[in-house]
């Protein structure tokens, strides 16, 4: 049953083995280099302080600006963003203004025909007050939510997450 390895087979295997090592030695570092963004751990953001007093938040969605230091690879910059913030009973709700259709900016009650809805001017997308997209308009999902908190009486804004109100 002993399988004899011929000189030719031996050389073939050796050359293929060495060749594979050489190819892998070149391809693996370059591949890992290219896909690195997939393995970057999410920077756990801290809550961002706003200048809005929690007591001033009404049931009418209001634009609340907030700034933070954004790290984009080697480039650090201060970025200003905003959320639509309103009070729902005891809870404070902060919705992302980024339309779920193509990423335009939605605003509250700017469409005369829909005074109680978020409106996207790009393709007439509509959302209910809780962020739920109105069927028959372009958006494919509800507006994202921001984590909110109150610190020293002032509103703080945290991570963005998929809408949990609808």
């Amino acid at each position: 049953m002993s399988q004899k390895v011929t000189r030719r087979q031996f050389l073939n295997y050796s050359l293929m083995g060495v060749g594979s090592f050489m190819v892998a030695g070149m391809v693996l570092p370059m591949g890992r280099f290219a896909v690195d963004p997939l393995f970057q751990s999410d920077a756990e953001g801290s809550m961002i302080q706003t200048s809005i007093s929690a007591d001033d938040i009404t049931e009418e969605p209001t634009q609340v600006d907030f700034s933070f230091i954004q790290q984009d690879g080697w480039y650090e910059s201060e970025v200003t963003d905003f959320a639509w913030v309103y009070r729902d009973g005891d809870e404070i709700i902060a919705l992302s203004p980024v339309c779920k259709h193509l990423g335009c900016t939605v605003s509250w009650a700017t469409d005369d025909a829909n005074p109680e809805r978020f409106y996207c001017p790009c393709h007439n997308g509509l959302y209910e007050k809780n962020g739920n997209n109105v069927p028959g308009t372009p958006p494919t999902g509800p507006l994202d939510q921001y984590e909110v908190g109150v610190s020293d009486g002032y509103l703080t804004i945290g991570q963005i997450f998929p809408n949990e109100l609808v």
């Binding site: 290219a34 896909v35 963004p37 997939l38 970057q40 999410d42 954004q70 984009d72 690879g73 080697w74 480039y75 193509l102 990423g103």
Partner: protein, 224 residues
């Protein structure tokens, strides 16, 4: 004089068969617009190649001034277009040529489709052609971001959203393209530049070589 130089080289390296094989071959009557004017539709592939060559050369010159950096990209494009002599022409060639390549490759595809030229034994050349079409679309998409103006930024946002809508692996594709999970920024621009200038052109050259070798091997499809 030129003849003698040519002969001197040919004596030593026998280059005549090389260019004969590339350039000296019969054009069948049914694809020659000189016989049937309507045969101009058979020129679309060659015209696509011609414009691709213009894109490659004008793109090479554009990189003499362009920098893929979010602080300076827009300024460098503004400078090369408005301050550099003939900049508006060189950038114009690349800008309009980009759209023209997509139009011509589409017309070429239509011609091949409606003349049935994709049928056996040329199926593989159709497959390579479709890959070439995808590479051209990839070049158009990645090149669109490079001027780094608002139109470029938002077009890329939309494009990345579309990429992210791929089932299961969409988010990975988006992150791999953009270089970041959320931000379209410094890493995105650098990546798009690398893809636009190195990766996709490399794929383009290989696929074009295969495309042309196959058409020479199999010959032009017969008349309808």
């Amino acid at each position: 004089m030129l003849n003698r130089i040519y002969d001197w080289i040919d004596d030593r390296m026998d280059i005549t068969p090389i260019w004969r094989d590339v350039a000296d071959h019969e054009v069948p009557e049914h694809v020659n617009p000189a016989y049937h004017f309507s045969a101009f539709v058979y020129c679309f592939g060659g015209l696509t190649f011609f414009i691709v060559v213009i894109q490659i050369i004008s793109g090479m010159f554009l990189t003499m001034y362009y920098v893929p950096d979010i602080v300076n990209a827009w300024e460098s494009v503004y400078y090369l277009q408005n301050e550099v002599a003939a900049g508006v022409i060189v950038r114009g060639m690349h800008h309009w040529g980009a759209s023209l390549v997509v139009v011509m490759i589409f017309l070429h595809t239509l011609r091949v489709f409606f003349t049935g030229a994709y049928k056996a034994p040329r199926e593989l050349n159709w497959v390579v052609g479709v890959l070439l079409f995808l590479v051209i679309l990839g070049l158009a998409f990645t090149g669109y971001l490079l001027p780094w103006d608002m139109k470029a930024l938002f077009a890329t946002r939309v494009g990345l959203d579309i990429a992210a809508s791929v089932p299961f692996i969409g988010d990975w594709i988006q992150t791999l393209l953009a270089g970041d999970e959320e931000i379209i920024g410094a890493q995105t621009l650098a990546r798009f530049f690398a893809i636009h200038v190195f990766f996709l052109p490399a794929a383009l050259f290989v696929l074009m070589a295969v495309h042309f070798i196959m058409i020479r091997r199999q010959g032009i499809a017969g008349p309808l």
